[in-house]
Symmetry: C2
């Protein structure tokens, strides 16, 4: 391959966390189902979901990503959808749903534990994740994976500029980076734009806000696999 | 002084941000007043404030510090205090209060802009702040001070262990650090415990959770000033 990687000693493997290393979107999905259920007396399902989505996206600038932002948006959407009739008990259920999400056990995706342990013997590993600082740090701790990662970066958003600053801070050229994640928009495309490699592992659920198309001119250093345990073989093949 | 600092080239000045560089607690104070007002038909003032405080502290483990955590706690306290009668309109006012806090102009404390600019010519400067990642980064950006800081650390909590890890990451011995902040508990005592210097600048409002006593055995490297612009003279005197 003309675009082959340099020697493996020069490579850094960077991983998204939510829905790449461990399940996350399933918790949002369950909370959304609970929200629809709570809203049945005020709005039909599609209106409820469309309103929640609109409020969440509108609230990204003030709130950022993560569970706290999601719960605040759910409450705001409920106030709006109910025409001011949502009850305190219903609000209380949303707060409780949020705490359940924060306390939920960290459930690794298939093959992650072994693959991360194995890759950490050969490459420096980095986690790059967005969301609540405390919640992400807590999940990494509880995942049992923390010791395998040399670098942990928790950020507010995942743009090419954010990635550039992270890699620069650690003296890593983007060309040395293989970024692995479930979001084309947040994990793969920005790193491809910087000249790095992007490995996409689609998750069965993707938040509508994270949908994106891969620009054709960035396809050379793009790969897609189904599970993280296909990564070691892919890395051998890419060299 | 026996415990004099090393040459100034060896020193690092670290600053807390909220209520040390810019006003923050006044925004919480105003939101609390609004909360008391909204709760008048459900509870007397002292019950309202005591409940809010209890809920906030109980929610520190799941939510951490910051405006989003505060608003979620305010809503939870309202559900509880009202015996389930709080209205959607009142919840809506709390959400709006939270957004106002997040959007509020960053108001520097007296003397901060000049002093930080002046000190940055002689010392490497660090900000160490806790709270919402995005909100803290946004305030630093909007403060006009960002360019003066070589290091920016946004953390979930400020314990001696957190400070030790930060300083170790940058190859800085705690003895080289002068930590400046308004909270004895979060800014001053943990750094004194590591062997660094702690400079306390009390703010006129302190959240009850941040109250602490200075242990007598840590007083040697402790100083107190009234305003940040007294820091340059204090540093000269300490040498």
């Amino acid at each position: 391959m003309s675009d082959g990687l340099a020697g493996q000693g020069d490579l850094l493997l960077a991983f998204d966390a939510d829905d790449t290393l461990w399940h996350s979107e399933n918790l949002y999905h369950a909370a959304q189902a609970q929200f629809r259920e709570l809203m049945t007396s005020y709005a039909d399902e599609s209106t409820a979901m469309a309103t929640l989505h609109r409020v969440e996206v509108a609230n990204l600038p003030p709130y950022g990503f993560g569970v706290k932002a999601f719960i605040l948006s759910m409450i705001e959407a409920a106030v709006e959808l109910s025409g001011g009739k949502v009850t305190a008990a219903e609000i209380g259920e949303m707060l409780a749903a949020g705490k359940e999400m924060l306390a939920a056990e960290v459930e690794l995706l298939d093959g992650v534990a072994d693959t991360v342990a194995r890759l950490s013997a050969d490459y420096p590993l980095m986690v790059i994740t967005k969301g609540d600082l405390g919640h992400q740090a807590s999940k990494l701790e509880r995942s049992g994976l923390a010791a395998h990662f040399r670098y942990v970066e928790i950020v507010t958003d995942k743009t090419a500029e954010v990635y550039r600053n992270i890699f620069a801070k650690h003296g890593i050229a983007p060309q040395q980076v293989v970024m692995v994640g479930n979001s084309l928009k947040s994990d793969v495309i920005p790193v491809l734009e910087l000249g790095g490699w992007g490995v996409h592992i689609p998750y069965r659920l993707t938040w509508a806000h994270e949908h994106a198309e891969l620009p054709a001119d960035l396809a050379t250093k793009y790969r897609e696999i189904e599970r993280l345990d296909e990564l070691p073989a892919l890395l051998r093949e890419m060299r």
